[in-house]
């Protein structure tokens, strides 16, 4: 499926199969085309090419009102002229349901905001608005719930609460959810599967652990928070374990690649720091000096020489008394890095 919006942006060859009842997270940086893709699924834009199927029905030419999707925009797109209760009852009334009002009340209750029913939208806080938007979308019992960055304008505490709520709602109602975000940890927590979209292209689809540990391109790796991207070259390879020369140091890594220049991705949290060498056959050991330590909430980010970054808990950092100038051992498992072939020569 593809579509060109003119003005320099197009979605190209999106090929995506979302399973019924799954919680699918579409992850990508700003301006990747996430919103546009959701809008195409909802039927607000038609694809130039390709087809869209929803629940066994070809929906490519179906108008939005026939697609049985629910849409929650990032800013909720609530109707400024209606009360919260009227929002939820909106779709039910259109279906001529006489019990619209009661059903709406029940849904609001389920989302814990019964007290809002009679309130005008303008007087609601961001979090309350979001619940109303979700209730509105769920009221008509859609097959698919499309969520466009539903959490990004909430503060951390509310975000955490809402994540739980979203997961619960999805399980209880068995609805398929497509959730768009640019926040990795959000994707990680919520997703059954993740699709990574960048510059209008769907780069990778898979379960969270796979996507985060095995990104398919360097750009995706950077976006996904792989801070250690080290150029190297495979020296030898035996039984799926390759020896890679990383700028002088040889490390052992599990990979199906046999030779050639490669890029080695190591997530900073997969690097263990210690005062003494930990000697296990499966582990790779580097010695390095601490350049800088940044405490970020519960975590501390430790920048080492050679551009290696490790992420440890603040508590560990304090207990190990890590500070710039100290020499440490950095260890990682042979299974921790992910290796992809590198184009072009060394650098």
């Amino acid at each position: 499926m593809s579509r060109d919006w003119g003005l320099g942006f197009s979605l190209r060859e999106i090929n995506l199969d979302i399973r019924e009842g799954e919680y699918f997270v579409l992850l990508g940086p700003t301006a990747a085309g996430k919103t546009l893709l959701l809008e195409m699924i909802a039927g607000f834009y038609a694809p130039d090419q390709g087809v869209i199927w929803i629940g066994g029905v070809e929906a490519t030419r179906l108008p939005p009102e026939k697609r049985e999707v629910g849409f929650v925009y990032q800013d909720y797109a609530l109707f400024p002229h209606l009360t919260a209760g009227a929002h939820v009852a909106f779709g039910l009334r259109l279906r001529g349901r006489p019990d619209a009002r009661e059903k709406a009340d029940r849904l609001l209750e389920k989302l814990g905001v019964t007290y809002l029913a009679k309130r005008r939208i303008q007087t609601l806080s961001g979090g309350e608005q979001q619940r109303v938007a979700i209730a509105r979308a769920l009221a008509t019992e859609p097959r698919v719930l499309l969520l466009d960055e539903p959490l990004s304008s909430l503060d951390l505490k509310t975000q955490e609460k809402t994540r739980g709520m979203l997961r619960r709602v999805q399980r209880d109602l068995g609805v398929t959810v497509v959730h768009v975000t640019h926040n990795q940890s959000e994707a990680m927590v919520l997703a059954d599967r993740i699709g990574v979209i960048m510059d209008g292209e769907l780069i990778q689809v898979g379960p969270p652990s796979e996507v985060f540990t095995r990104p398919l391109t360097r750009k995706a790796a950077e976006f996904l928070g792989v801070e250690n991207i080290l150029p190297g070259r495979i020296v030898s390879s035996r039984e799926g374990i390759a020896v890679i020369d990383l700028d002088g140091t040889e490390v052992q890594v599990v990979t199906h690649l046999k030779d050639g220049p490669v890029e080695v991705f190591i997530r900073p949290e997969d690097i263990i720091l210690s005062d003494n060498p930990i000697s296990t056959s499966a582990r790779n050991l580097l010695t390095s000096e601490v350049v800088e330590v940044n405490v970020e909430g519960a975590l501390a980010r430790v920048f080492l020489e050679r551009g290696i970054t490790a992420l440890i808990t603040r508590r560990s950092a304090e207990e190990m008394e890590i500070r710039p100038g100290r020499r440490l051992f950095a260890t990682f498992k042979a299974t921790a890095p992910h290796v992809i072939p590198r184009d072009g020569g060394d650098f």
Binding site: E39, A42, F44, P63, P64, A77, F79, F90
Partner: protein
């Protein structure tokens, strides 16, 4: 922090125009209040009241037509890009520059009893209410359409889209979402268009001297009896319409906050 000087100067510059309208209109009204008997005479003159009522009523009819046909037009102009859109927009605004008597003559050529449409029309336009209405409609439609278009432009199309996902077909989405949200602009547009219709003279007298709308009556009285007879009618018309106008605008603004 409080740029007093700035606002004082801005206010001073702005009040030139304000004073200009104020002095012009209120000079007339105040002068009339020195002659309350004249005003009383106008209030008790049934043909004066009939003509004022006719003016208000005809302008309401013209505005209704503008609303019924202009609202869809405004919606399309706000939402759709199509070849020739610039042309349509220009056509909408064109009545603005047509001199009023020319407009009257042009309307007569179309709606007169020998006109393009008038000759086939079972409805009589010349010297009849329909004639007044078409003349008012011609001069006032741009105001309505432009205001309604701005109203629709200010409605996020995504609200309509969301309504669609909730099961609304395009009509329902329009009626339940776009229309209520643009209602303030539509109301303001209707008020402006109504006011513009009230004030029209040049185009109306050409196509329909009779039945006399208030501006015609005022002119006629002015010519036959002089200012003494016409001024009280002017003042009465302005007071009545101003009351309606200001109340409606306050109503329309009230929505806003």
């Amino acid at each position: 922090m409080r740029p007093k000087g700035f606002y004082i100067w801005m206010g001073a510059a702005g009040s030139i125009l304000l004073l200009f309208s104020f002095v012009t209109i209120f000079n007339m009204i105040f002068t009339q209040f020195l002659d309350p008997m004249g005003l009383l005479g106008a209030i008790t003159d049934s043909s004066v009241l009939a003509s004022i009522w006719l003016t208000i009523y005809a302008s309401i009819l013209a505005t209704l037509i503008a609303v019924v046909s202009g609202t869809p037009l405004a919606y399309i102009l706000a939402r759709k890009e199509f070849p020739g859109k610039r042309l349509v927009e220009s056509l909408v605004d064109l009545p603005l520059i047509v001199p009023h008597t020319v407009a009257g003559i042009a309307l007569l050529m179309v709606f007169g009893s020998h006109g393009l449409i008038g000759q086939f029309s079972p409805v009589r336009f010349v010297d009849a209410l329909p004639g007044i209405v078409v003349a008012m409609l011609f001069v006032s439609s741009p105001f309505f359409i432009n205001s309604a278009r701005e109203g629709f432009q200010s409605v996020d199309p995504r609200l309509e889209w969301v309504a669609r996902t909730l099961g609304a077909d395009p009509w329902t989405a329009f009626l339940r979402v776009s229309l209520p949200l643009a209602s303030r602009h539509i109301l303001v547009g209707a008020i402006m268009s109504w006011a513009r219709g009230i004030s029209e003279f040049g185009a109306v007298i050409v196509i329909a001297y009779y039945p006399m709308i208030a501006p015609t009556l005022i002119w006629d009285r002015f010519l036959t009896t002089g200012l003494k007879a016409s001024a009280p009618i002017s003042v009465l018309l302005i007071l009545i319409c101003m009351t309606i106008f200001v109340s409606l605008r306050i109503l329309a603004r009230g929505d806003q906050s």
